[in-house]
């Protein structure tokens, strides 16, 4: 889901992981085919039967889920504890596009990913790789937030935010603040926007905060060109390590990532997170089941787990807004402490449509390299 620089290493990691996991046993044969076409828990004969089938498979392969991303460490651990199924988490730092590549390259092998966690742009163009599945909490998810058959489903979104080391820089109150001398060589975004969704969102956010709109992100590109000309743009891909070491004192990223850094750097750095007043930007990540999942029942049980109250609250705890939030607030099943800490979702939340994202990406492909060189 997140783009990282060391592709070769990621690929090697995937290859290694395949070699390793292929040594372990895969799902029992027999019902595998039926499991692979099941579109709901009923198709298994109820939720308990689904759990049983998944436990018989014993394993689940996930990909691109960093432990520090939206609480995935706790979510994976919880799944293992609740159902006694081993989760093999491979290549946590690869991009959404690489998830699909891994599914293609590893097709038919035990180490192939069972489930995906994808940015919307990749999800919408990769539906051939997905198997439709509707979770038990399907009705809670607004219709425009899911594919009608359940090929992909919106899961959680953050808000674009600015994380900063309060000991190194003053609190930014507007985008223009970042152009000042206090921020010389200090402002980074999470990856290259022509490659990574979170970084592209940072540019879109700059556009929305300035003169631009979801249809016109040119002012966002211009802002970063200006930031670069001022010597304030830091062309470095921030990681938990660069934040801890102080290499990247100001980082545009999704709120759940910045909040995770705040928790991780407790006592080391005074990492503060701010969402600027005015328009906010969100972008849902999607869940999908690999149509060729080596553990089809476990993959479907993972979906049930992901969209359960427990996990939706875990996302919220990490600062991400889960897709069932409205329904959970109504039903009173929401983790109120977490909601209070994160704040009610903004009224002024903008999400780019698929077409707008595509147009924004095309503009970035054309202009980004020149803007920051």
């Amino acid at each position: 889901m997140r783009k990282r620089t060391l592709v070769g290493f990621a690929a090697a990691g995937i290859a290694l992981a395949v070699t390793l996991t292929s040594c372990s046993s895969s799902a029992e044969a027999g019902d595998t085919e039926a499991h692979a076409t099941a579109t709901s828990a009923e198709d298994f004969g109820g939720f308990d039967a689904l759990v049983e089938a998944a436990q018989a498979e014993g394993e689940l392969n996930v990909i691109a889920l960093p432990d520090t991303w939206a609480n995935y460490g706790a979510i994976i651990e919880g799944f293992e504890e609740e159902y006694g199924i081993t989760v093999n988490s491979d290549s946590p730092d690869v991009s959404s596009a690489e998830e699909i590549t891994a599914a293609e390259n590893l097709k038919g092998q035990d180490g192939a990913p069972d489930v995906f966690d994808l940015g919307s742009a990749v999800a919408l163009t990769s539906t051939d790789y997905f198997a439709p599945y509707q979770v038990q909490t399907w009705e809670d998810i607004p219709a425009e937030y899911k594919d009608e058959t359940g090929l992909w489903v919106y899961d959680y979104t953050g808000l674009m935010s600015i994380g900063y080391d309060a000991d190194a820089v003053p609190a930014p109150e507007s985008l223009d603040d970042l152009l000042g001398a206090d921020y010389a060589g200090k402002v980074a975004i999470n990856g290259d926007p022509t490659q990574a969704g979170a970084a592209a969102a940072a540019v879109q956010y700059a556009a929305l905060q300035g003169e631009g709109s979801a249809d016109d992100i040119q002012p966002g590109v211009d802002f970063f060109a200006e930031l670069n000309a001022a010597g304030n743009f830091l062309p470095l891909d921030p990681t938990p390590a660069t934040i801890a070491s102080g290499e990247t004192p100001v980082v545009f990223d999704w709120s759940y990532n910045n909040l995770a850094e705040q928790a991780a750097n407790d006592g080391v750095r005074d990492w503060q997170v701010t969402v600027l007043p005015g328009v906010t930007l969100g972008s849902y990540y999607n869940q999908a089941v690999n149509v060729d999942a080596p553990h089809p029942a476990a993959a479907r049980l993972w979906q049930e787990w992901i969209f359960s109250d427990t996990v939706q609250n875990l996302y919220l705890e990490a600062g991400a807004y889960p897709v069932r939030l409205a329904a959970m607030i109504e039903a009173g099943t929401v983790d109120q402490d977490a909601l209070d800490a994160v704040g009610e979702p903004s009224e002024d939340l903008v999400q780019l449509t698929a077409e707008q994202t595509e147009a924004a990406s095309a503009l970035l492909a054309e202009q980004w390299a020149a803007a920051i060189s």
Partner: protein, 288 residues
């Protein structure tokens, strides 16, 4: 006699087979496959879009930046390396200094990629030892005008770090091939040191110097790991454009552009090799 000779040739061909098979399987086939993708779109239909994509301003700029980066580090590396070789001529051939330097060069020439990038980040990163020391002791901020380590100029130092040792190991044999008798002969005939180098030293060394220079250029031209670990923004050089085309999650459907970029890189190398062989045959003319 004839029969024996043709029999010998059969054996010779057989002996060549493992190597040929290896080259075909692990060099030729992957190259052809990779280049081939440049001519197809995502659905497998023939297209020239990827090739015309090479003319996009961002791609052209990445070629230009890669050319000057490779050229600069090759020329500086070659000259610095040659000077080190020259200095080593004054040491004993089996002495600890020369063997030590050539052993170290052998290691450092291969010291690239993530390790090298990390070494430079630790030394001259924003929180690097040297950066902070300069800042605290002399109040000199090497990043006053912006953080250049993570952009193309930041690649010059790391690239030189492996280019110079590579020059030393490839050029040292030629340098030590300069016979002392030639210098003595030149001196006997009244030649000065400058005359020796101008009339004898440089012409003798020119072919291997040019060869080493080309090797250094190709080495920087195709280098990926170091740049990938250091530069994360803007894909400013071609190998990083290849990465962007393959893994982008925002600009989709450009995977086959990577093949076209590879074609572009090969074209550049072919042009250079042609120019090199023309130059080489001129440089070697006196030897015939």
């Amino acid at each position: 006699m004839t029969a024996r000779r043709s029999g010998g040739r059969g054996w010779a061909l057989l002996g060549l087979t493992p190597f040929s098979a290896y080259v075909v399987l692990f060099l030729a086939v992957p190259t052809v496959l990779a280049l081939g993708t440049g001519f197809f779109d995502g659905d497998g239909a023939l297209t020239l879009d990827n090739l015309t994509g090479l003319l996009e301003p961002a791609v052209l700029r990445s070629f230009a930046d890669l050319l000057w980066l490779s050229g600069l580090t090759a020329v500086v590396g070659a000259i610095a390396g040659a000077l080190i070789c020259f200095a080593l001529l004054g040491t004993r051939e089996d002495g600890w200094l020369r063997t030590g330097i050539s052993a170290a060069s052998g290691v450092l020439a291969q010291f690239g990629g993530v390790m090298l990038a990390f070494a430079f980040i630790a030394l001259i990163g924003i929180q690097g030892l040297l950066t902070q020391w300069l800042l605290r002791t002399f109040e000199v901020d090497i990043y006053e005008g912006g953080v250049w380590l993570y952009q193309v100029p930041g690649l010059i130092l790391p690239y030189l770090y492996f280019q110079i040792p590579l020059m030393v190991i490839t050029f040292m044999p030629a340098m030590s091939g300069l016979k002392p008798q030639w210098a003595e002969a030149s001196a006997t005939l009244g030649g000065t040191g400058a005359v020796f180098w101008w009339r004898i030293g440089f012409p003798v060394l020119a072919p291997s110097f040019l060869g080493s220079l080309l090797l250094l250029f190709a080495n920087a031209f195709s280098s990926y790991g170091t740049a990938a670990a250091l530069v994360s923004q803007g894909a400013p050089i071609v190998p990083l454009q290849v990465r962007a085309a393959l893994i982008s999650e925002t600009v989709l459907g450009r995977e086959n552009m990577a093949g076209a970029l590879a074609i572009g890189m090969i074209v550049v190398m072919v042009v250079l090799m042609t120019a090199y062989s023309a130059l080489q045959s001129r440089a070697e003319r006196w030897m015939r």
